[in-house]
C-alpha cells in the first residue's frame, strides 16, 4: 500500500515536471514558428521583387541580350 502511494506520488510529480518542460519547449517552438513565418514573408517579398517583370526584363535585355520572341519563333513542344 505504501509503495503504491509512493509510486503514485512520484508519477504525479514526474508528469507535472514533464508537463512544465514540454511547456518550455513548446514556447520556444512557438517563438521559432513565428520567427520562421516572418522570415518566410520577407523571403516571399524578396522573391516577388526579384521576379518582378521590371527586374527580369532589365536583366534579360541588358545583361543577357535577350529579346521578345515573335509569334512564329515560339514553338510549343508536343
Amino acid at each position: 500500500m505504501l509503495f503504491f502511494f509512493m509510486g503514485s506520488g512520484i508519477s504525479y510529480v514526474w508528469s507535472n515536471f514533464e508537463k512544465t518542460q514540454i511547456g518550455y519547449d513548446l514556447s520556444q517552438l512557438k517563438k521559432e514558428e513565428m520567427r520562421f513565418q516572418e522570415i518566410n514573408r520577407k523571403l516571399r517579398l524578396e522573391l516577388a521583387l526579384l521576379k518582378s517583370p521590371q527586374n527580369l526584363g532589365s536583366k534579360a535585355v541588358k545583361d543577357l541580350g535577350l529579346r521578345q520572341p515573335t509569334p512564329e519563333q515560339i514553338v510549343m513542344l508536343p
Binding site: 512544465t20 511547456g23 518550455y24 513548446l26 514556447s27 512557438k30 517563438k31 516572418e38 514573408r41 520577407k42 516571399r44 517579398l45 516577388a48 521583387l49 521576379k51 518582378s52 517583370p53 521590371q54 526584363g57 521578345q68 520572341p69 515573335t70 509569334p71 512564329e72 515560339i74 514553338v75 510549343m76 513542344l77 508536343p78
Partner: protein, 661 residues
C-alpha cells in the same frame, strides 16, 4: 468527582470549544474575503506576476494576381518611440539615436522636447536598427513591431490595387474597397512565465474573432506590365497628357489588365499628387467619338433598318444639320454601311442614325451598358451621361451617332465592345477572382455573370465582319493589325471640351482604339486611349499601335496560336522564313517554295515536311494547329499522313527524322 470539579471541566471545554469556533470563524471569514470578495483583484495581481501579454502587430492579407504572384504583402518592421517627459538627457539621447537611425540630431531633439507624453521617433524601419536602439537601454525610449505594406511590382496595377496607410488601413483602390476583408485581427500573445522570467506557455488570442483574408485578382501581372509599358511608350511618343489601356476576357468579363499613365509607385504614394492615384479607367468620362459607330451599326443591323450593303450618300464631306455643318475628314459620295464604318464617315453615321432614330439608339446604348455603372465594384466609378430624347436639340440628335454629346468611361466602352466580341452578351466586369482565408479556404468566389443579351449572335457576327475592315489596309487603323490573327475594332478621335470656353477645343483630343482578337474566337478585348496627344491625333495612328503591341504579346503569352493561312500569306508576302531553301539555291527557288507552301495551304492540303529540321517542322505544324509527334533526329524523311492530305481531316502528324548523309 465533586460537582465543583465537573463544572470547572465543563467550563474549560466550553472555553476551548469557543476558542476553536472563533478561530474557525476567523479563518472562514478570511477565506471568504480572499476567495470571494477580493478574488478578481488577487487573481489579477497573481496573473500580472506570471502572465505577460504582448500586442502583436496587426496583420493584413496578401493581394495576388491570377497566377498567385504577390502584388501586395505585409512584413514586420520596427518603429522607435519616446516618452519625452521621462528622458533626462535629451541632447545626448538625440545624438545617440541620430547615429543609429541616420536622422538629423536637431530633428530628433525637436521631437524629444515636445510637451507630449508619447512621440514617434521613426517608424517602419529595419528590425536590426530597432534592435540597436533597444540595446542602448535608454529610459523613455522604446521600440515596437509594426507591419509595413510592400508592393513588389511597384507601379504594376497600382491604380487598381491602391495602397494602405501607416496604420494598416486601406486608403485607395482595392486596399480601401476590401479593407474589411484584408485587415487582420489584433492578436495578443499571452505568455506564462516562471520565477526566472522564462515562458512556459504561449497562447495567441484573437479578441475580435474575425479572420484575415487574401485576395486573388483576375489581373495577369505579365499582361498588366506589358500594357503599362506599351501605353507609356505611346503616351511619351505622342507627348500626351496620359492614357488608359484595358485588357478583358470577353467570354467571362475578367479584367486581365488595367493600365493608367501617368503611373505612381504605391510604396511611396505620398510623393505623388492625389489626382495621380485615381483609377481614371472608372472615374473619368470622355466622349467616345467614332468608336460609337460600332454600336450604331449593331443597333441598326439588329433592328434591320439597314444591311451592310445599304448605300448612303455622304454629301461630299459637308452636311448641314440643325443649323450647323458636319464635316468628314475625307470627301465621300455614295458609301455602303460597311464602308461608312470602315472609313468612319460622320455624315454616313448621321444618315444611318436618322433611319434608326435617336430614342431607339439611346435605348441600345443603355442596353450596351452606357450611362449605368458596370458593377465592377471599384470605388469612384462613374456612370457617364446620355442626353434623353426629349432634351436633345436637332444637332444633338445628329452628333450622337458619331459619338459626340455623351460621355462614357473606358471600362464601359471596353465591356460594350466585349459584348460584340462574345456574340451579343453584356458581361459584368470583375477584378477579384476569389477571396480566401488564412488557411486557403474559399470564402467568396466571383463567377462570370451575363448582365443581359444586347444583340443576337448573328448581328454580332455581321458587325464583327464589318469591324475587321477597320484594321485592313483601307480602314482607319491598319496599325492595329496583329500579324497572324484576325482583328476587329473601331477607332475614335474625339474633341475635348475646353473648360474655359465651354466649347470643343481645337487642340485637345482623345485618341481611342477598341477592338478584339482573334475574330473567330475572341480571347481578348483591348482598349487603348491616349489623352491629349500632340501632333498626330487620330485614334488609329496613336492608339492603334498600343492595341497591336499589347494584343500580339498577350496572345503569345496566353498560348493562342496564330492562324496558319494568315501567317502563311503574311510570310509569303514578306518572303520570310516559311521554308528555308538550301544556301546555294537562287531566289527563284525560294519564291517557288514559298508559292508552293502558300498554294498548298490555300487549297487546304497538308504540306510536305521532308528535308526540314525539327524546329521548322514544329513551327509549321503548330502554325497549322496540328499535334506533331517526332521520331529520331536530323532531317525529316517520312511523314504520316502523307503530304497533300486534306488539312481538315488531319489533327496530328507523325514525322520521322534521320541524320543527313
Amino acid at each position: 468527582m465533586k460537582v465543583k470539579e465537573k463544572k470547572w471541566i465543563r467550563f474549560r471545554i466550553y472555553v476551548v470549544t469557543i476558542f476553536f469556533l472563533l478561530g474557525f470563524g476567523v479563518i472562514l471569514a478570511r477565506a471568504y474575503q480572499l476567495q470571494v470578495l477580493e478574488s478578481d483583484y488577487l487573481r489579477g495581481t497573481a496573473e500580472n506576476g506570471i502572465i505577460g501579454t504582448t500586442k502583436l502587430p496587426p496583420e493584413r492579407g496578401t493581394i495576388y494576381d491570377r497566377e498567385g504572384n504577390e502584388l501586395a504583402l505585409s512584413v514586420h518592421v520596427g518603429s522607435v518611440f519616446a516618452h519625452p517627459k521621462q528622458i533626462k538627457e535629451k541632447s545626448k539621447t538625440a545624438k545617440r539615436l541620430s547615429r543609429i537611425l541616420g536622422e538629423k540630431k536637431a530633428k530628433i531633439l525637436k521631437l524629444l522636447r515636445r510637451d507630449r507624453s508619447f512621440v514617434w521617433i521613426k517608424r517602419k524601419i529595419s528590425p536590426t536598427l530597432t534592435q540597436q536602439v533597444s540595446d542602448l537601454k535608454i529610459d523613455g525610449i522604446g521600440v515596437t513591431t509594426e507591419t509595413r505594406r510592400y508592393y513588389p511590382g511597384r507601379e504594376i496595377a497600382a491604380h487598381l490595387i491602391g495602397f494602405s496607410g501607416a496604420d494598416n488601413q486601406g486608403l485607395e483602390g482595392l486596399e480601401k474597397r476590401y479593407d474589411d476583408s484584408l485587415k487582420g485581427p489584433q492578436h495578443r500573445l499571452i505568455r506564462m512565465r516562471d520565477a526566472l522570467g522564462r515562458s512556459f506557455s504561449i497562447n495567441r488570442t484573437d479578441p475580435s474573432g474575425r479572420g484575415m483574408h487574401h485576395l486573388f485578382l483576375t489581373i495577369d501581372k505579365e499582361i498588366q506590365y506589358k500594357a503599362q509599358q506599351a501605353l507609356k511608350i505611346a503616351v511619351k511618343k505622342a507627348r500626351a497628357k496620359g492614357g488608359h489601356c484595358i485588357v478583358v476576357n470577353p467570354e467571362t468579363g475578367e479584367i486581365l489588365a488595367m493600365a493608367v499613365v501617368p503611373e505612381f509607385n504605391p510604396n511611396a504614394f505620398s510623393k505623388y499628387r492625389p489626382d495621380q492615384w485615381r483609377n481614371r479607367i472608372v472615374t473619368d468620362c470622355f466622349e467616345p467619338g467614332s468608336t460609337l459607330k460600332a454600336f450604331l451599326l449593331s443597333a441598326s443591323l439588329e433592328e434591320s433598318v439597314v444591311t451592310p450593303l445599304s448605300q448612303f450618300h455622304c454629301e461630299e464631306g459637308a452636311y448641314k444639320v440643325g443649323g450647323r455643318v458636319v464635316h468628314d475628314t475625307h470627301k465621300y459620295g455614295k458609301l455602303s454601311v460597311s464602308d461608312i464604318i470602315v472609313y468612319s464617315s460622320n455624315i454616313g453615321a448621321i444618315k444611318i442614325g436618322q433611319k434608326l432614330g435617336y430614342a431607339r439608339f439611346c435605348s441600345y446604348l443603355k442596353k450596351f451598358g452606357f450611362s449605368t455603372k458596370t458593377g465592377i465594384g471599384l470605388l469612384g466609378e462613374r456612370k457617364g451621361f446620355i442626353r434623353e430624347a426629349e432634351k436633345a436639340r436637332t444637332i444633338d440628335r445628329a452628333t450622337l451617332f458619331f459619338g459626340q454629346g455623351l460621355t462614357v468611361t473606358s471600362l464601359q466602352l471596353t465591356m460594350a465592345m466585349a459584348a460584340i466580341a462574345n456574340g451579343g452578351k453584356l458581361m459584368r466586369p470583375y477584378v477579384v477572382k476569389k477571396i480566401v482565408d488564412e488557411s486557403g479556404g474559399l470564402v467568396q468566389e466571383t463567377r462570370p455573370k451575363v448582365v443581359r443579351r444586347v444583340i443576337s449572335t448573328r448581328t454580332a457576327m455581321r458587325v464583327t465582319k464589318v469591324l475587321e475592315g477597320v484594321v485592313g489596309s483601307e480602314g482607319t487603323a491598319p496599325k492595329a493589325a496583329i500579324r497572324g490573327f484576325r482583328v476587329a475594332g473601331k477607332t475614335g478621335t474625339s474633341q475635348k471640351v475646353d473648360p474655359k470656353t465651354k466649347r470643343y477645343s481645337k487642340s485637345k483630343y482623345v485618341a481611342i482604339f477598341v477592338g478584339f482578337a482573334p475574330v473567330e474566337r475572341p480571347k481578348l478585348v483591348i482598349l487603348a486611349l491616349i489623352d491629349e496627344p500632340k501632333g498626330v491625333v487620330y485614334g488609329g495612328l496613336v492608339a492603334g499601335p498600343v492595341f497591336k503591341d499589347v494584343g500580339s504579346w498577350s496572345l503569345n503569352h496566353l498560348k493562342v496560336n496564330p492562324q496558319p493561312d494568315l501567317l502563311a500569306v503574311a510570310e509569303a508576302k514578306a518572303k520570310a522564313l516559311v521554308l528555308d531553301p538550301p544556301e546555294d539555291s537562287g531566289n527563284s527557288a525560294k519564291s517557288e517554295g514559298v508559292n508552293k507552301i502558300a498554294g498548298e495551304l490555300r487549297q487546304g492540303l497538308l504540306p510536305d515536311f521532308k528535308g526540314m529540321g525539327m524546329r521548322e517542322v514544329l513551327k509549321r505544324g503548330r502554325a497549322l494547329g496540328l499535334k506533331v509527334s517526332l521520331k529520331g533526329s536530323g532531317l525529316a524523311v517520312k511523314q504520316k499522313p502523307e503530304a497533300g492530305s486534306p488539312l481538315n481531316a488531319v489533327k496530328s502528324v507523325s514525322v520521322s527524322f534521320n541524320p543527313p548523309g
